[in-house]
């Protein structure tokens, strides 16, 4: 069935919510994080590559954090080892933040859309 004279479509999509401001705020966060296109030109290629590399580093950093938390929960680390591991991860996070700032990137930029699989992070 293609046409339905009894139930014509509205001229514009209808939007219905009782929480407009809340959704505007959340959807703004989503649109801000949408990837802009990577244009292969001299000016943008550096930032595009930095974004790709930093995304992969961020992905690995988060995996390391998760593994460290699991090991801490598992009780197989001494307090000294936990402190040492925590400091190392803290410095890694700070360093990555510094690099992001240098290349004008935000947390939302560090992600990859993997199509049907979803997003990397």
């Amino acid at each position: 069935m293609e046409l339905s004279p009894e139930n014509p479509l509205p001229a514009e999509p209808e939007i219905e919510t009782s929480h407009v401001e809340e959704f505007v705020e959340q959807l703004r966060c989503v649109t801000d994080s949408l990837p802009s296109r990577i244009n292969i030109d001299a000016q943008s290629v550096e930032q595009g590559l930095a974004r790709l590399v930093l995304t992969l580093i961020e992905f690995i950093r988060r995996l390391l954090e998760k593994q460290a938390v699991r090991r801490m929960e598992g009780g197989d680390l001494s307090p000294e080892q936990i402190e040492e591991l925590g400091l190392a991860l803290m410095r890694l996070e700070a360093k990555l933040h510094e690099l992001k700032t240098q290349f004008g990137l935000t947390d939302e930029d560090l992600n990859l859309d993997l199509g049907p699989i979803g997003r990397l992070i």
Binding site: I82, E83, G115
Partner: protein, 239 residues
């Protein structure tokens, strides 16, 4: 000749009224076999992602929605007329299957916000003074537990909504998000003849879970079910 491609459909030989699209270029029907493609002339290689262009793309795709259900192309699809013709002829069967899936349907969207505090563990006690590394890991543990709890809750809500709407939709797709207040984003393919039943089912679901904040919208062209990827560069956003 370069074209900007908006969408593909069937059974349409002309536009109901003159329409301008990206860069204010006139939109016309480009016929390839049984298919009708909505296109406009385009000079350049890339289309800037901005409000005007996004709205122009959406308006063209929507212009035929009251007559038929189009398969929208991904925003920014720029190809030559020969590439487009070659693509459509080579993927004729796949495109027909996609058209069959969405035929007679529209997309309805449901987004759900949920109070994050319900799954957020309390901040870790600060017994780690002088040991910043340990405090850091404890905070990460708290974030991780909160994220896992929210991911689980998002899945539960998505399953619950699927049970409530399952009988009145042809297909569905949803994304869950464990890091933001916007927990679930669902898209539902609804037969035009089932719209009233869909609206009633959604209304009942909203009444059942007043703690969830809903945003319902539509009808939209079936972007979530039929977006056509022309080639690698459009799929990965590299142009």
């Amino acid at each position: 000749m370069k074209l900007y491609a908006y969408g593909l459909t069937e059974g349409i030989d002309s536009l109901p009224e003159p329409l301008n699209g990206i860069n204010d270029a006139a939109v016309y029907i480009f016929k390839v076999g049984d298919f009708s493609l909505l296109v406009s002339a385009f000079s350049g290689d890339t289309v800037p992602v901005n409000r005007d262009n996004a709205l122009a793309h959406a308006a063209v795709v929507r212009s035929v929605l009251d007559r038929t259900t189009p398969l929208p192309f991904r925003f920014g699809t720029v190809v030559t007329d020969r590439q487009l013709e070659s693509y459509v002829r080579a993927r004729r069967e796949g495109l027909q299957a996609k058209l069959e899936l969405v035929r007679g349907c529209v997309e309805m969207s449901v987004k759900i916000i949920w109070d994050r505090g319900r799954t957020e563990p309390a901040p870790a006690n600060n017994h780690s003074e002088g040991t910043p590394g340990t405090a850091f890991l404890k905070e990460k543990r708290r974030e991780l537990l909160g994220s896992e709890a929210r991911a689980e809750e998002a899945k539960k809500i998505a399953r619950w909504l699927e049970e409530r709407l399952g009988d009145v939709v042809r297909d569905k797709t949803f994304k869950t998000n464990s890091t933001a207040k916007l927990l679930v984003s669902g898209a539902y393919l609804v037969d035009r003849g089932m719209m009233d039943r869909y609206r009633v089912a959604l209304k009942n679901a909203r009444l059942e879970r007043p703690e969830l904040h809903f945003l319902a919208s539509g009808p939209w062209p079936p972007y979530s079910f039929a977006n056509i990827d022309l080639e690698f560069k459009s799929q990965f956003g590299v142009s």
